[in-house]
Symmetry: C2
Subunit: 390 residues, 2 copies
Amino acid sequence: MIGNFIYNTPTTLRFGKDAIKDLPGVMARYGKTVLMTYGGGSIKKSGLYDRVKELLSDFDIVELSGIEPNPKYDPSVIDGARLCKETGVDVILSVGGGSVLDCSKAISVCAKYDGEGWDLISGKVKAKAALPIVDIITLAATGSEYDMGCVISNTAINDKRAYLDPLMFPAVSFLDPEYTFSVSKWQTACGTADAINHVLEQFFARPCSIFNDGVMISALRSLMTNVKIALEKPDDYAARSELMYVCSWGCNGILSNGAGYSGWPMHSIEHALSAYFDITHGAGLAIITPRWMKEILSDETVERFVTLGTQLFGFDKALPDNEMADKVIEAFYSFFESTGIPMHLAELGVKAEKIDEMADHILEFDSTNEPWMYAPIGKDALVRILTESM
Amino acid sequence: MIGNFIYNTPTTLRFGKDAIKDLPGVMARYGKTVLMTYGGGSIKKSGLYDRVKELLSDFDIVELSGIEPNPKYDPSVIDGARLCKETGVDVILSVGGGSVLDCSKAISVCAKYDGEGWDLISGKVKAKAALPIVDIITLAATGSEYDMGCVISNTAINDKRAYLDPLMFPAVSFLDPEYTFSVSKWQTACGTADAINHVLEQFFARPCSIFNDGVMISALRSLMTNVKIALEKPDDYAARSELMYVCSWGCNGILSNGAGYSGWPMHSIEHALSAYFDITHGAGLAIITPRWMKEILSDETVERFVTLGTQLFGFDKALPDNEMADKVIEAFYSFFESTGIPMHLAELGVKAEKIDEMADHILEFDSTNEPWMYAPIGKDALVRILTESM
């Protein structure tokens, strides 16, 4: 069954080899003064920085560089918003991965708000306007290029928030798979793990339908097959292009229209991990995934595991349900491990003594235990998942 | 591989039981004077007409009724555009199936054009503006509620044109599966056949990807499974809701981004059939489909048949390719037949003596023989397909 939903994703995708040749014409629709945001300089190494500057030689460009993974409210969002206000920026051009884009989205609303920006991000105040955003995405992972969300950390209060507003849909996203050829094995594996988790967060929900299940299982099959190829052969265009496209579908709802909202519990757990230990988002998700699955497995949820077992992994339909579920959980564990992700949080520097505090933090700031959720879990379960993940 | 593409679908879907309760608020965004378009009166029988009038009691409503299947430029489009100009319509509300909506889309551009509307529809002149369109769709079939196209017949010159323009994306589409409970078995079967054909027109294209193939096969599986349920039990909400949702994906490109454009040859053939004999679009497509498949089957195309055979129908992977292809063609024939569609054009009133003229017409107005197409076919092949279909 397809349940009630409202859906709109107004972003234009411009996908493919040298798609950015059309950048000047696209940018000109929004104005002349551009805030160009980027990260640690990989776009300078790859030549993308020079290419963009050359394409936009007729524009006035203000730069904000050094945006960090797990982007921070202070200094990046604050600095960006201030620059926009001071220089009268018309449009933001985000060049980089999901973190740069998430930061740019937060800047886009904070630049149009006179109060404390964190009040918007934390949901205290509703944004009324935003600068338009164009992005060139260089990492297949978060899907930020095709959704209205951003995740921003506030290190002063150990908080990491997922903030959603339709004002933050990018106007136009450029996706050229060739810019992902230089992405490291580690980032390729973690980016794909993030995207796989986006699908799973939506797959474990009700009601189900043949169509949504099939679309999500196709996404998982594509991600799991193509990441193996890309890890072996980083410049395989076919694999990189499919990873990039499928990742873009991750978080805008198109995978699960009418399927209900699960509450994204694994992301809630990972956001606490990243807030406390600044670990790589996708790695945290990969480690949590099989432990979360084990925790929520029950007579009520086993049908989802059976569907994954038969349709994604091709396991024997005659297997007893619980055996099938165990095999599915093992299959995800082995898959993530095979992409080079260490499957224990301790290896990423997470300290067991913080588990109790993190569990409280999750329940206070994110919540995994609302009655409307697909499989609500309380503190004991959170502690078990985190302990098992160590 | 995902090839280069540009994609944007700005329409908002408002899906589900009693979704139209929000109609007044949505309409108010666009103005106060509404052209309400509908067909032969089935919306009066179902109570939808009264419900809409009640919801929009604060609006000024001008009505255009009697829009026919295979909607006609003269009189419907011409009358609608004239009404809009005379009464200063702000927004069009289309209430009905794909034909009513297609007609409304054509009206939306013709209402903003001072010359002969057919010049827009036939592609001679590019439209510069359009009235906004809101629709309440009552038939799961064409996908017009989520795309920028319309198909309009000009009986004076035996022409039926597919006309595309981003100006014609509906602003908002309301989809309430309950309004399809009263759709007849014949229209349910033909609507689904139309949607199945939309998927197949995109499936037979290059390049392919795991993801696009999986999404399209999921759409086919969903349509083929749910139509059987809906034919047995017309008020099955789960089946009707899934049919309605999957149909909406048919023609906006989301099924096949980066997969190349096939040229939609089966639609080109069917448009000639409808233009000459005014047959039901979906029935014509169902009849043509297996014959077209047989005609284009070759060493180059057999891979597409094998993918359908193994992934959609679950046929034995060990079967020789050509045997697999034959089984796929037979499976589609049997499926359409099982939904109650007569599998011979003669039964719909098509006359064999027009085949030669229709083949010429297709090549002149629609074309199936361009070198960039997936499987170009010339006059001899068109005559064979039409003759086999009789």
